[in-house]
Symmetry: C2
Subunit: 194 residues, 2 copies
């Protein structure tokens, strides 16, 4: 069971099940939605498809309920835990992907009409401001200092970290789009003088 066929999705699933214990794909879906799903989307179909694959590799085991919803409960094996550990110790050199469709539009704004750039900025800015304030609210509501106990990171703490990254990223985005807006305004002023 060489570990090089494991993707980020695999480790996400392994990590969640390692922490939370026996989980259904739906459990995974909810945890993801509350945390990293905010900026790294994992469609639910993925979270239904990946666990069976990991079972084939011997990293998870499956137990299926016989009654009612007939849920599929997945549990980590010691091989699975081992693969997770090994991944944690291996530095991840892979670069961050930052895929922002709004940015892509901005980059081609010169191919639109004269006010395309302004239009895009005016539409992106409120989006990022809204996200920022949502994250900031969540940060306020976050847990007190009790999460900081001696090395043990709870799910709460984990959520806190995604929120923290969210805040920092959205601040950067707001600053960026404000800069664009300012540029557009300056450009218009200069044009008016000419």
């Amino acid at each position: 069971m060489s570990t090089d066929q494991l993707s980020s999705t695999s480790y996400l699933v392994l990590g969640l099940i390692a922490r939370e214990g026996a989980s259904t794909p739906y459990d995974l879906k909810r945890h993801v939605a509350a945390t990293i799903g905010n900026f790294w989307s994992f469609p639910h179909a993925l979270l239904y498809k990946e666990p069976p694959r990991l079972v084939d590799l011997g990293l998870l085991t499956e137990v299926r309920e016989l009654d009612g919803r007939r849920r599929r409960l997945f549990t980590i094996t010691s091989a699975g835990a081992g693969a997770l550990q090994a991944w944690l110790e291996r530095p991840s050199w892979e670069a961050t992907e930052l895929r922002d469709p709004g940015l892509l539009q901005l980059f081609f704004a010169d191919q639109g009409s004269s006010d395309t750039q302004g239009d895009i900025a005016r539409e992106q800015l409120p989006i990022h401001r809204a996200k920022l304030s949502a994250y900031e609210t969540e940060e306020q509501l976050g847990p007190g200092p009790e999460g900081a106990r001696s090395g043990h990171l709870t799910l709460e703490h984990w959520r806190g970290q995604t929120v923290r990254m969210g805040v920092l990223y959205e601040r950067a985005a707001v600053e960026f789009w404000e800069g664009v807006t300012a540029d557009v305004a300056a450009g218009e002023a200069a044009a008016a003088l000419a």
Copy 2:
């Protein structure tokens, strides 16, 4: 030719060819590498595969050199230009994807040994610092104010914007990982007291 089968890759290709005129896939590759490729990876095979698809849709035309390297030169059609315009006017509501493998590891640091969190932070911080300073250098070398003329955005300007976003994002990342490092240090200090 309904436009809903067009992906971000499609618009990237259309936009570049609209701006630069007749281009080979390799031209696209170089432009991408110098700009948005810094944080949104488009493997070269994509940039060789997408143009023929757009030719099928009537958005590009192809002319192939007969001699030497037999390059394939792609040019935008009026239908292609129209699709690009329409996209620029359509607000892009899709959320930014921020896919950071380092963050993913951090989120599962509690499943590793007691110093996994610190190890990850110590390894990510220099990576982001290096990227930040590379971007900042590039920003210094950037073009003077001559790029700001009345609404016309040059490729240089475009490059400038990706660099700007890069700087802001990497600053956020550095701040984030510094925060993690500080947390770890605080945790160790607290543990030492107990």
